[in-house]
Symmetry: C2
Subunit: 332 residues, 2 copies
């Protein structure tokens, strides 16, 4: 099959473009294109290769893409894809696994930063609000990871990689997952009751879930209350997994509970560092600006894996990471 | 042997005290004791169990301790012990290994906090100096630990534990050590040339050395220059291993080089958070107030191990962790 591929991002490097060109013609989406130009070539496109969803691919313009067969994402998650406006026979592929090492390392970084109170104590020294007596008091509230239970919600590539790192610290792993991956090293839980059990029994919890209609707001006030009062909750996949108001109130009321995140809530459809509540005034909150993904992108691997998958599809093989669209949209 | 033990710290819990009492009489050093009282019982003491070195045990009072046979430390390091004023036949034991897990976890926490730029980016968001474009730029300067070389200076309990954690991240370990511990998993280096080689070839370096007359200021301006321009240097044992002025100048001149420490320089003989240079104004400096030791102390294990060692000695067995006094003092 010789296809027309629309590339909507600058992250596709020359080497990857050259690999695609052996099998396809590449069009690049350009912000300056007129609606007339778009109307001319969008109907010819077979494959979309996307990073952030481009504004130009509105509902109206998607209706023009009558030949579209595959949407391949370079981001790991597909929650930005406007499933409602894509024809039912379009295959949508995530880039699951492409960032597992980067995001797994980041998860351990956030977990340790919270457990060891690194941000909080660094800033207290900076403000000259520290002395060695406080060290003796606070030192006894530093969390040791050894022998603690780490709950991992979502046991895909990121969750599994985080588990191997945490196991080297002597942590016991409880993983909550839909799939039935048998594992000797990890205790698996499923379903609503499994989720409640993992939350109640874990000393630390890492959120490694995709954002779907089922997982949006999965950590709400009730589930926060089920967790241990001095638990550490780490989020490395999507901010919207956690109910913003419930989390703020829980952190403010429970100073021993800690939240460390690399990902943020959405504001007008985009992840935003502006929050509705003053999280950064709380000593038990650590936040970084979604650095784990770009650190992966910088390696070139996510683009390479996305292009590999497009090439599989063009060779007539089943692509990997096909998304179950019913996870993202109600009805079809 | 029934002995008199002088306990100079509050950290010896009731259970440990009860174990000692089966073999010895315990005296507690009290800050309110008069010189007359001290002069009466110090000559009867066989064993000293110390945490920080107490002011009352001055050179003059040590001369009164004519029966003293053993000084057992609860701190891992013995650099506070006034070796010059102890009779040559007194055995001094460190508590090496008692904090390996706590300090090893802390070392990985500081390494990841620096590698992932957690403190720096958290504070930038707080000051509203961040946007997602910066995320893309800075994200590419996040350090991935996988496949990097970690140099560990000092391969005792802390160094070895840190190595096992770092290996799970896929790091290669170069260890600089005096002892000849053969190891399949770690490449060992010795001597001055070995040190220079580890520094030059490592992407990250963890200082896990005791502070001795040989290691004081071992990281000076010349050795900093040998390191990679974007290396990460982590210190978890003693601040005085690093030349303060040389480090400040190196960090100021090399913004990609990062230093993360839990331990500080000495001021009037005591570790102090007051530094001669404004380290906390640098974005490539992370500092915490020596939290790793107290986190270990809170587990009770260091006191238990120190008491175990005293009991070994009282039973006539060779105690563990006997310090080579020539490492700490010139001439005798």
């Amino acid at each position: 099959m010789v296809a027309n591929i629309l590339v909507t991002t600058e992250y596709v490097d020359d080497e990857s473009a050259a690999r695609l060109k052996k099998r396809a013609a590449i069009c690049k989406l350009d912000e300056t294109m007129s609606q007339e130009q778009l109307a001319e070539f969008l109907p010819t496109i077979d494959v979309l290769l996307v990073f952030s969803w481009p504004k130009q691919l509105s509902a109206e313009n998607l209706r023009l893409m009558t030949k579209l067969k595959l949407v391949q994402n370079i981001l790991a998650g597909v929650n930005q894809v406007p499933f409602n406006h894509l024809s039912g026979d379009v295959i949508v592929c995530s880039n699951a696994g492409a960032y597992s090492t980067e995001v797994g390392e980041y998860a351990m970084g956030l977990l340790l930063a919270s457990a060891k109170r690194i941000v909080e104590s660094h800033n207290s020294i900076k403000q000259e609000q520290w002395n060695f007596q406080r060290t003796m008091d606070v030192g006894s509230h530093v969390t040791m990871l050894e022998n603690e239970v780490l709950g991992i919600l979502g046991y895909g590539g990121i969750g599994a990689y985080t588990a191997t790192l945490a196991q080297s610290f002597g942590m016991k792993i409880y993983a909550w997952t839909r799939g039935k991956r048998p594992s000797k090293l990890v205790k698996l839980f499923t379903g609503e009751r499994g989720l409640d059990e993992v939350l109640a029994r874990s000393d630390c919890v890492v959120l490694a879930l995709p954002l779907t209609k089922e997982t949006r707001g999965i950590i709400d006030s009730e589930r926060l209350r089920r967790m241990k009062k001095d638990a550490i909750l780490v989020n490395v996949t999507r901010g919207e997994l956690v109910d913003e108001k419930a989390l703020y109130e829980h952190l403010a009321a429970n100073p021993s509970f800690r939240y460390a995140t690399d990902v943020w809530w959405y504001n007008q459809g985009r992840e935003s560092l502006k929050t509705d509540y003053p999280f950064l005034s709380l000593p038990n909150f650590v936040g970084t600006p979604h650095l784990s993904g770009p650190s992966g992108l910088a390696t070139g691997r996510p683009v390479k894996l996305a292009v590999d998958n497009v090439l599989r599809f063009l060779r007539g093989l089943a692509p990997r990471n096909i998304v179950d669209r019913s996870d993202y949209v109600n009805g079809r």
